[in-house]
Symmetry: C2
Subunit: 372 residues, 2 copies
C-alpha cells in the first residue's frame, strides 16, 4: 500500500430532490438522484484544489485506494495517490459513478421511489450532458465552485469535453484521454451490436429481470465485442497469438481451441458478475448520442480559458488519434491553450489503463505548471 491513499469508503448522496429535480436532455424532470462518490486528499481552505476524475464505461467511483477487506485497489490507483500523477498531497480528488450506472448511482437497477421496484426501462434515457449535470450537482453539494482539473479516458474523456463545453468557467485544466467530440458511425455500430446482443437474450425480458435470471449470455457477448475493440491487433497477437488452450492440436469441436477464445469468454462471464445489463444499454446509448459538434456548432469552445492536455494512443483504433486531433482543431479554432500528445503504445484503447508511466509524466507536468 506504499504511496496509496489507503482504505477508502464509497459515499452516497441524494441530489435533485423534487421540486429541485433535474431537467434531462430528453425534456423529462428527474429526481431524486442518488450519486455514489469517493474523495481522496484534502480540500484546501479556498476550495481551489479539487480534481474530478471521470470513469469509463465499466468503471465506478472507486478510482483509488482499497475498500476495507479488499486487496484489489481502485481502477486508476496507479494514477491517484500521494506523489502520483493526481497527487493527493496537493489535490483533492473526486470520482463519482455516472448517472445510469450500477455501482451506487441512480440507474436502471435502482429502486424507483414511485413504484418501490427497480426502474428497468422506466429509467429515462440519459446523455453525457445529463451525467455531467449530475456531477455539477455533486460539486454544488461539496461546496466546490471551480475545479482545478477534470480528467478521464474513453467515455470519461467525453464527459471532460462536455464539462468544458457546458461549464468552461468552472474548469481550469481539462485532460480528455482517448476520447472524441462525437461518436462515429463505426463507434455507434459496435455499441448497437452490443445492445442487440443484450436485448436478443430472452432473459432480458424487456429490461424487467431484476430478482430473476439476468441476461448473462447477452451481456457477456456485448462485453466480448467490447473487449476486442479495447485491444489492438498487435496486443492480441502478442498476448495470445494462436496459442491453444490445451497442448494438443485442434479440438475439432465448437468448444474453445484458442487462448484468445477462453480469455474473451472469461472476461464476458466475469463482467456479468459486476455489471447490470440495462446500465450497459443506457450508458452506450448516451455515448452514441454524444455529438458536441452538432450541439454547439461554431460556438464549441469559443472564448474558453481552460488549459487542455489532449492525449491519444497510437494503436487505439476505437477512439483513434484522429479523433483527438479533431478535439485539438476544435480548440485551436478559438485559440484555446492546448497541448496534444499521441502516446506510442501497442495496447489499443486500453492503453489509458496501462501506460501509467507516460501518462504520469505528462499529466504531472501539465498540472504543476499552475498552482491551485
Amino acid at each position: 500500500m506504499e504511496k496509496s491513499v489507503g482504505i477508502v469508503k464509497t459515499r452516497q448522496v441524494t441530489l435533485a430532490q423534487p421540486p429541485a429535480d433535474l431537467r434531462l436532455e430528453n425534456g423529462r424532470q428527474f429526481g431524486p438522484i442518488t450519486i455514489a462518490y469517493e474523495t481522496y486528499g484534502h480540500l484546501n481552505k479556498e476550495h481551489t484544489n479539487a480534481i474530478l476524475i471521470l470513469h469509463a464505461l465499466s468503471g465506478d467511483s472507486h478510482a483509488a485506494g482499497y475498500h476495507e477487506g479488499e486487496t484489489k485497489p481502485g481502477w486508476w490507483d496507479a494514477m491517484v495517490g500521494p506523489g502520483k500523477a493526481f497527487d493527493t498531497n496537493i489535490y483533492h480528488v473526486i470520482c463519482s459513478n455516472v448517472l445510469g450506472g450500477c455501482q451506487g448511482s441512480a440507474g436502471p437497477s435502482s429502486i424507483d421511489p414511485a413504484t418501490n421496484k427497480p426502474y428497468g426501462l422506466n429509467f429515462p434515457i440519459i446523455t453525457i450532458a445529463d451525467m455531467v449535470n449530475c456531477q455539477k450537482l455533486l460539486l454544488d453539494f461539496l461546496g466546490i465552485e471551480k475545479l482545478y482539473a477534470i480528467a478521464g479516458g474513453s467515455i470519461g474523456g467525453m464527459q471532460v469535453l462536455q464539462w468544458a463545453a457546458a461549464y468552461p468557467e468552472m474548469v481550469r485544466h481539462a485532460i480528455p484521454i482517448a476520447a472524441t467530440l462525437r461518436h462515429s458511425a463505426q463507434q455507434i455500430a459496435f455499441d448497437e451490436v452490443g445492445r442487440q446482443a443484450i436485448m436478443s437474450d430472452p432473459e432480458w425480458n424487456n429490461g424487467d429481470y431484476y430478482g430473476k435470471k439476468v441476461p448473462a449470455k447477452g451481456l457477456a457477448l456485448a462485453r466480448m465485442i467490447g473487449h476486442i475493440t479495447y485491444m489492438s491487433e498487435f496486443s492480441m497477437a502478442e498476448k495470445f497469438g494462436r496459442r491453444l488452450k490445451s497442448k494438443e492440436k485442434y479440438g475439432f469441436s465448437f468448444t474453445q481451441d484458442f487462448e484468445v477464445e477462453g480469455y474473451l469468454r472469461y472476461r464476458g462471464d466475469s463482467f456479468v458478475q459486476r455489471f447490470d445489463a440495462n446500465s450497459y444499454l443506457y450508458i452506450t446509448k448516451a455515448m452514441d448520442y454524444f455529438d458536441l459538434i452538432t450541439d454547439y456548432k461554431t460556438d464549441l469552445f469559443r472564448g474558453i480559458k481552460t488549459r487542455f492536455l489532449v492525449l491519444s494512443f497510437s494503436s487505439d483504433w476505437l477512439y483513434p488519434p484522429a479523433n483527438s486531433k479533431e478535439i485539438v482543431r476544435a480548440l485551436k479554432r478559438h485559440g484555446a491553450e492546448v497541448s496534444y500528445c499521441e502516446i506510442e503504445s501497442n495496447y489499443g484503447h486500453d492503453s489509458f489503463l496501462v501506460e501509467f508511466e507516460e501518462e504520469t509524466f505528462l499529466i504531472r507536468n501539465f498540472l504543476a505548471a499552475q498552482k491551485p
Copy 2:
C-alpha cells in the same frame, strides 16, 4: 445482360462415394459429399484454360450470370464474363460452393444418409484443406488436371493459398485477394464472438433446429458483427455518418435512432433468410484453424512454379495489407514469381466486391501474360 454469361444453372455432383470417401484433416473418413458448382465459358480441347473461382464466407457457387427468372446476377458477375477480368471467351471458369456450406454443397443442413436427417452438429469439423480437397475431387470429376488460374477474396483467398501449398503443380496462376496465411488472434476473436452469438441463441438448440425455429437472432447478430469488420471506418462515416432514421432529434428510446443501426439490423435479418447458422459456425471454425505457416513451416511454397498476383486494399482492417505482405514474403523466400498490389480504396474488406475496375485491370493483364 450485355457482356453477361447469360442464364446459368447450378449443378450438383456427389463425390467421395465410399469406399473412396475423403480423409478429413480431423482424421475422419467422410463421404459421400455432394458439391454444387457452376461453370462459364468452354473448356478447351487440351483442358488447359480452366480457372477456379473461390467464394467468401457467405458466397456460393453462383459467381456469374443469372438464374432463370432472377434479376440479380452472381456475386462476382462484374469480374466473370465475356471480355471481363476472367474472360469467358478465353477461359473456362468454375465456381463451387464450399464443403460445410448451405448453398447446395454438403454441410450441416444436408441430409445425413446414415440417419436420413440433417447432420446438424454430426457434420464433421472441416478445414480449409478439406474444402480444397473437395474442389480437387470436383476437378478430377470434370477431367481437369491443371488449372490455368485460381482466384478468390477473403476465405476464398485462403483457399487459393491452400491450393498453392498443397497442389502447387496443378496451379499455373494464383490470385489471393485480401487474404492471410493464417488467422490472427483478432480474426479468431471476431469469429468466436459471432459463434457465441449463434450458440447463445436458445433456438440454436445445440445445432438441432432444422424444421423448427432457426436461431435467427443469433445469426443476425453474428452477421452484424461481421459487417462492421467488412466496412472501413471511413466508408461507414461516408455512407451513414450520424444521420438519423427519422427527421426528428433522437428518439430517447432503445429503438434505432441512427441509419447505421437500421442498416446493420437489415443486413443481419436478410442474412438469416439465405444462410444456415450451423454453416456459419463450421466455416468460421475452418477459417480460425487456417495456419499455413505452422502447417508447412519453411517448406511453405518451396520450389513453387506458380505465378502469383497478391492483392490487398488500403482500408481493409480485417485482413489488412500487412497480411498480404506476409504472403509475399513467404513466396519470395523461395524465389517465387509474385506481383503485389495494394489497391487504394476506402471500402475496407468489402473492397474486393466493389473495386472491379482496378481488379479487372490488374487481373486481366496478369492472366494475359501467358497463354492457356
